[in-house]
Symmetry: C2
Subunit: 291 residues, 2 copies
């Protein structure tokens, strides 16, 4: 595994990597969990693999956790090596965004909904850093986790609109045995919050089950979901929504393939999760869990 910390070394290392399958990029902010590992393993399986590790200041709002976002670069590098990654780009922020950097890439509409409503500027930060990384690395594939459902939809939209020849691969959310979606931010949770956190996923799954049992009325499903979320000890739901899988517009009537999206706080810790209706039934219990 080669490690580079500057655009210059990155460009040089990339010339040696390109092969018939092209390059697969796993863009991350580090502090890896099994979700990241699943993306890396898939990238390695698909061809030459590049991992970027970089806490992107643009996607944090004022008062958010940019400074205290968990970091463990040494452990990250060991995990990347074990996963078989070919090249790691782990730069300081100023290498990605030099002082005269001034371009931003925005996906209107999609970026203002849901998480974007509560984190203004967040998705613009995401699409801008990705457009930059896509330019620097020129991958043919990029890998994202389904946990960040809205992000994936936005990235797909950007890639289509800018006609970037990149396949966006969205891999299943990796969950703890409890059902809690893996997240670098889970480390913030207190023991009591950790005990309650699995009910977040449970609330989504139960609502999916209602839908599969025949309830198609979006308002009724969301009322059930709301009640479940509000019953979770110590949890403050922020939003809950039923959306079209692709354009993320709110749906009044649910069909399989639609997605339930939700976010909320345990204390200062913000968690998100989602559930594609009918998907967990298809994949079966445990299929998207990992120890």
């Amino acid at each position: 595994m080669r490690l580079v910390r500057s655009r210059r070394d990155l460009a040089q290392a990339l010339t040696k990597l390109d092969g018939p399958q092209g390059i697969g990029l796993v863009p991350t902010m580090g502090f890896f969990h099994a979700g990241h590992v699943s993306l890396m393993e898939r990238a390695v399986k698909d061809g030459a693999s590049v991992l970027s590790v970089f806490v992107n200041p643009l996607q944090f709002g004022e008062g958010e956790d940019y400074e205290r976002y968990p970091r463990d670069p040494d452990r990250d590098l060991r995990i990347a090596e074990e996963a078989g990654i070919d090249l790691v780009y782990m730069p300081p922020a100023a290498d990605v965004f030099p002082p005269d950097f001034s371009t931003s890439v925005t996906v209107a509409d999609l970026s203002a909904l849901y998480c974007g409503h509560f984190r203004p500027g967040h998705f613009e930060g995401v699409t801008t850093v990705l457009a930059r990384l896509f330019g620097l690395i020129k991958p043919q594939r990029a890998y994202f986790g389904q946990k960040d459902y809205q992000q994936s939809a936005i990235v797909r939209r950007m890639v289509t609109d800018l006609a970037l020849a990149i396949d966006i691969e969205v891999l299943p959310t990796i969950r703890e045995d409890s059902g809690l979606a893996m997240s670098s931010r889970n480390v913030y949770l207190t023991e009591a919050q950790r005990q309650a956190a699995p009910f977040f996923h449970q609330a989504l799954s139960d609502t999916e089950r209602d839908m599969l049992a025949g309830e198609r009325d979006g308002a009724k499903l969301l009322a059930k979901l709301e009640r479940r979320l509000k019953k979770i000890p110590g949890f403050k739901p922020q939003y809950w929504a039923l959306a079209d899988a692709k354009n993320l517009q709110p749906k009044a009537t649910a069909v399989e393939g639609d997605v339930l999206l939700a976010a909320g706080h345990f204390g200062a810790t913000r968690l998100i999760d989602n559930c594609v209706l009918g998907e967990s039934a298809k994949s079966g219990p445990g299929a998207i869990k990992r120890p």
Copy 2:
């Protein structure tokens, strides 16, 4: 010369074009004058050449001349053929921007200055359509005229920031014998306005001469320029500025290579022009004129 009117046909035609030199793109809004022809001839000389002809709605503000912008596609195609262009992409607006298109690309700071101040959203429209065309066509070179000086600086910034591997070639402004910069919008001018219009270039050149004769004080140079612009019959100057050639920031003291930028109206017709200090002295009289 091959003509395509859809992204689909464009993609297919491009597969047959690519060569060792890659592709050169001349992005235009049509209604060609000698300035466009100079870009086409250069693109043809440099390798495989693609011309896009498309009046981009995104770069027109409310109340601007999108609807009445001059169009003459048949003449444009004849001129392109004569110039030796390989492939013309002349689509309807909906082919470039399908209904679900929602990405925008902006270059902050640079886009708010000068023309951007008076045409809010204009440069965002330019950078967005170019990012889209760059993605669809994937050129190695793109050609622009120096008349749109601020646009070139913004496009260069975008290409650097998004790490697009595209050389931005900016070719000299082509002028009528009178000195008037060629522009598709010159067709709007009345006979009287046409008589007066060359004084716009003259005002810039005279101010350049003041600078080359020793006047380096930006405020004094701009005061002279202002006086000259305001003396032009029927002309309403909109802005006049002395700027750094690259980052376009206003300069207090002029050095060679800085640029004088200006815009103004003859009636409803808005003209822009610029002068890189020391450049006309270097290239000599007539060097950037064409009949």
